[in-house]
Symmetry: D2
Subunit: 482 residues, 4 copies
């Protein structure tokens, strides 16, 4: 049931929720806040709940953050008031902690070494233990976010300079963290040794450097010489060169998030040196080989499944076509249909294109099934539009395990493939046939056997995880600010 | 130059701007304002500047309208405050008149016969004359919209009842008008005798009827038995049946807007009984026949050109693929790039997918070229990404004449194909080859020789047009409300 | 009962509500919108519901208006966007018509002679007839305000220039109207022949002139040579001089509103050439003579009764002191006490100063009793604080008749002194004694026997009034915009 | 010069700025958030910059705070969302720290013992040292407020329960603190051993108790049995009784703020068991004796000097009258006069009542002169209105020393009486004569020789103060959130 105070995001679907996009810019003499605005705009798909920008001018840090889309949070006056040489940006979709404003990022605090601001993408699996220890030491927390734990640990970490303090704090962090850290005159990019979440750096055309969760955002800023921050690296962005240090050795086995390929990243981004759009096409091709269907048309669930559907169609020889129109007009609203309207079949997000599926045998390509709320209604829409058969094909293996590294897959109880057999899922979805891509096939399509995290498919986590404390980080915050 | 008080809509491109979507609902006992909200949401692509809903409860009319997206203009409290059996809705993109709030619709006035509210899609070509006459008679106007002229004329039209008054007013209107008219206890759908802009009615599943600019919106509301309002018809929506009258005879030659097929309508809508998505596919197929290319990949300008690109690819045998990613996160902002950022190549709306075009010969499908601002940059993006050749294919003929029937094509001076030869356009765009679909081919793809308005291609208007007064209706308003 | 959508204005009390303050400025080369902002700020006591400013620059008129206090409606950006040589301003408290935004002023319309904007203070008693006639002629109205009737009549009035059109329209207006009229290059001040509501003009120190409802606002702008606009006058403000014309002869018997002295005007304003503060002191002195009391302290109901209490104390020799503290923090809120909180005696607006009344015999001075909601609670507060006796003294005669000239006194049924005898009112109020100032005494204090309207005391209206149509002007609007 | 991003509060004058009002309510079964709203409304004069309410329901704490007046910060929906048995409220005017939202109160943090929220009025003179120590221990601060230091120290204080932890933290605090502390199921009132700032408790008529900065707010809530929290006391509010403990012994010499009598408190409040209104009258009487004048009228600077002017008039026999009208319409605005408008003499806050001072010898009573920005213009207004003589009388001694206990008197350099002799001040003000009340006379009027802090007059602080660190608590925050 939807709480009356929860906005309904028409475009939030049953996909796993990515929590964040991060961004950093060092571009002396440029309008860094404006650049950060455009960079965050290119990362908006990674989080629509809140946005924030902090800038440093050598003497201090100024910040603005609020709930809403980047374009809603920032006015020209706000951007103009944020002057400096360094910028830090963040877009957020809540995972741990409540979605309250107090969890919005960046986190900005005053420390004994001056102010620092932190933008974080990921999730520490030992955040609850770390936080409990700090509470026992008499500290107070103003939010329930593990990113505040990270920020507070940086304030108290030993070390002669910020690089050393970051390095020392990293020793104690277990889990996923792609960070951008801003001091009054330095900007750092930090990635965990497992390389779980993406982070890339590039050179700005007019001098200076930028760091962002995805290469697509760096390209939007005109960056060249883009490369990933390597697992365990700390990079200080300077005007002329990157100052790179391997703060922690990379994990023996890295654990890059497979789901960046399956769903999260923009198709024009690179992940692990691979074009996301091309990986998705290969996932479709591989699926066509593993799970062919006798059909008349291949139809994607827009927009995420389009590349895979193109690949499936190309490999199978079955024509590709649109089957659904997705309403593009994003906007959070608190208005929801009444029961009566629901019964009338009010369709808000997807409309079917009748003529493209009428009397056809349809292959429906979806990138994944997580909680399973969307698939059934889409199959039903196709049937009501006159599709003769619907063959559901999923571009990854069944998701049977939660993620503790920053992706909100839901709990075991919520995962469709944990609760049900494939045949049950087929029946629930109403499809004539259902097939998932095999783990092996997925890896083949990605083009690499090792180095990725497959925990949501296999339950094999890259490190030990205490499922009781890791998921939400710690118990629900008793103090909460609206 | 962009005025500092003008919001920048990142998704407004050089397409012609449709001015409006209209909606009416008669559903006693249902929450008609909520239904109107969802219906407008499905019409949002027809206007993002302002939205409004008026409801009637048998005794009076209550209205709320404001600038912004439907989801921004209406809160649950607003919807809850609008109670009644009838609803009228409107989404607007400005054509005539300024974009000020005072031009937002519906227009609601008190008349000698009680209140009426009007939602209008179209443009009267004789609005300036009509308005001048009313001004001479001592009337005042609070906006510069021809829709206010329409509303005021209804207030003063002779006739024993609203149907007669509407019918009498129609005698004097020259141009495009698809109207929904709400009184305190009646709801009318009205379409001009030329049938220029679309208007459809359908039966609601729980009783009552609805009228909307597009069938796609009626489908979103669960409507069945959808049919178009015929040219010259006035339909009164009732609970049990439609009360239909042919107020004016249909024009000897109807003038349905071709551009609804080319660009405006949702792909899942029908226009003139034809599936818009399928017409667009056929435009692509026809284009493949008329203007083949030796190439490796067919790439659409998303989203409007996707169906045509699918058709071009299917007919030509050249594989279809995505070439661009379009940023989905709509949001008006007043923040624009600095010159320095522009030089850096900040890309806000489209990013190219390098790997899909690198070292390939690309067919780029675009639905139309109006002012020509978008095409060149897109071709350049492809080249910079390593495309070997770019063959630009346009799914309609060159647009050489302005529209005076409610579509903002710009003036003669702004129209690329009015100012330049095809070879010049090719050079400006930077493409290796350029071809437009022929008028004959376009008609063939649509499937009908006659009955459409081709004025923007041919200069042959469906009726006499005074180009000096018709375009903006009348001179710029000297009084303006922000 | 308070509707849940009605804001509660903590400082709205049972006083009659004045509907408006008007303002006009002609000051070439000055920032007229900013001046209008400050002028309206000084008129804010005359209306807190909505505010608006229109400016003219010789070519057109630009306007902004909205609900709220002047300081809430106008931001620096808004003020900066309103450029011109002429400004028109309005603050509003609703009388006729609903309080909806559509009734906010100024009214701005396009006419055959260009745009005009009108700000109106007063009420036409024949508005309903005039409006009905215009409706019959086929006009539509977008609000229920008689000010829109005035504006529309100006649009249609015969005459070779605006002065003539104003003059001609005035022939047909019956009732109270102090107007400021702005065209694209002219500014007029207009006052009805009865001189019912105030209107004053003055010379700005840097050149140009200003007009305002009260001299206090002109003084705030630094004006000199302030004089009243005479009954029936139309004055055109120019840069160097006032262009004055007697459009209509003054009424044989003028009807200046007595209540401007009693309650409405700022104490530092002049009304009818008399200092309002001094008139109020004399009202108190006269009351001390007519209705002496044996008491220890004279206490005013703040703030309006302070001058009269000073006068009463001075004449009677009984010491003056504060008895109540009034919460200054105005702000509209929708939050109201629960019944439980009401029973707890939550005091929002007035707190008593115990020590000043404890064990004393108190003379409580109030300027008037209209509906009688405030007096009783205040007397009770005094008693609970330990006052031995409370002698209530009112600085005007009993109000037994409604006002139809722009002051919301309520209907006959609502007027305390219409429904009850003096002794009943005393008992209801809980006072030990009660006395009103006599009509004769009031006139003596004002200093003039004739020329004022005493209708609310005597029922003798300055002209014939149709009580059925005059009060709200016409029946409740069936169409209403929120 | 006023920064363009600083709102101009028309009613902020040169008075010292009080930083806060605090409030706590324990009233099971009542709507405590609503009660807190009304209580804060009655404390609004103590801070107009920000407001906040936190409620506890036995399990957790929920809070809302924002910039603005109480009526602006809280909507009915907000109030309705704050459910519980305990409420904590705060209104703020900034002293230390910037005025940014991050300094708004209450402060709410999660501690090892659960959430706590703190509302603070006062200033710790050793906050900078305490904060520096905590920073050295690795803590981070998200604001520059000493109230955050207090809150964080409570989180880390030793002790088996909250009472003990509060008591232990108090040992280390030097300075002024009247606190209300809320846990998930307890509510405490805490006052420093010097009793510098006020704090009172009372019994609610329907059961439960309330605590507030001033008795006037408790009276507004209907409280009875009101008494002050004694210096050094910690009181736990319960349903049936107060649980009182003397956590620290009262200071040998208490240091009650004299300025609560002179200016801060509502006139209907009690301070140190004395009626504030009556103390102010006696200040005026004493002043009449010490500094008589031959004059025709006694005029107050409204509103704060009214009681003293009444007292001066009564004792001297010179008639009391209003000399100025103060604009009541509070509202923050960013709009300020241009230089040209300033030269025109635009008066925003005070207008003189000409007739009351014309050709008179005026005694002008002002409560204090701090920076001296207001007095001169007011004297000039009187002269321009025709006053023959102006005799300025101040109801307290010259202020020559800054306050470090929570009142923003400005720095030494800003204090008029620190920089100038009395004769200079008289000349600057333009008065014919000037007299301050003597220290001895002030104490006589208050009615008590010892126990008050006179530091701003004498420079004798109640404890040692490090003027370099105490004023703003610590150096300007380098990190700041807008």
């Amino acid at each position: 049931m939807v709480d009356s105070t929860t906005p309904i995001d028409w475009l939030v679907d049953e996909h796993p929720q990515e929590e964040c996009g991060v961004l950093g810019i060092y571009a002396p003499k440029e309008d860094v806040a404006r650049m950060a605005f455009f960079g965050l705009y290119a990362l908006q798909h990674r989080g629509q709940e809140a946005a924030g920008i902090a800038v440093a001018d050598g003497r201090g840090i100024h910040m603005h953050k609020d709930s809403g889309l980047v374009s809603q949070v920032f006015s020209p006056e706000r951007i103009a008031s944020l002057k400096g040489d360094f910028a830090l940006g963040h877009v957020r979709y809540s995972t741990t902690g409540s979605s309250a404003l107090s969890n919005a990022q960046p986190f900005l605090i005053e420390t004994q070494y001056g102010p620092i601001a932190v933008a974080h993408n990921g999730n520490l699996v030992n955040a609850a233990e770390l936080r409990a220890g700090m509470l026992r030491n008499g500290m107070g927390f103003s939010s329930s976010s593990d990113s505040e734990v990270i920020t507070m640990m940086l304030a108290g970490a030993p070390g002669a300079n910020w690089f050393e303090r970051i390095k020392n704090a990293m020793q104690r962090w277990q889990g996923a963290y792609s960070l951008v850290v801003l001091t009054r005159d330095q900007l750092f990019a930090v990635r965990d040794p497992w390389g779980i979440r993406p982070l890339t750096v590039g050179m700005l055309p007019t001098g200076g450097h930028a760091v962002a969760s995805e290469s697509g955002a760096l390209r939007s800023l005109g960056c060249q010489a883009i490369r990933e921050v390597r697992p365990g690296e700390v990079i200080m962005l300077t005007n002329t060169a990157l100052s790179v240090a391997q703060a922690l050795p990379p994990a023996a086995q890295t654990a890059l998030c497979t789901f960046e390929h399956i769903y999260f990243s923009r198709p024009d981004s690179f992940w692990d040196g691979r074009s996301v759009h091309q990986v998705r096409q290969r996932l479709g091709q591989q699926l066509a080989e593993e799970a062919p269907a006798v059909a008349d048309v291949v139809v994607p669930v827009p927009d995420s499944s389009i590349p895979a559907a193109i690949g499936y169609a190309a490999r199978s020889g079955i024509p590709y076509n649109d089957g659904f129109i997705k309403n593009r007009y994003i906007g959070r609203t608190f208005i929801e249909p009444t029961d009566s309207l629901r019964k009338m079949g009010v369709m808000l997000k997807y409309n079917v294109i009748f003529e493209n599926v009428l009397d056809r045998r349809v292959v429906l390509i979806d990138d994944s099934i997580v909680r399973g709320n969307t698939t059934g209604p889409l199959v039903r829409l196709l049937r009501e539009a006159g599709a003769r058969e619907v063959h559901l094909r999923i571009t990854c293996p069944p998701i049977r395990h939660p993620c503790f590294m920053g992706v909100d897959m839901g709990t075991y109880d919520e995962l469709m493939a944990h609760r049900h057999t494939l045949e049950e899922i087929r029946q629930i979805s109403g499809a004539d046939s259902l097939a998932y891509l095999s783990l092996k096939g997925m890896k083949k399509a990605i083009g690499r056997e090792e180095g990725y995290c497959d925990a949501c498919f296999t339950g094999v986590y890259p490190f030990e995880v205490n499922a009781h404390t890791a998921k939400t980080g710690f118990e629900q915050p008793a103090g909460e600010q609206a």
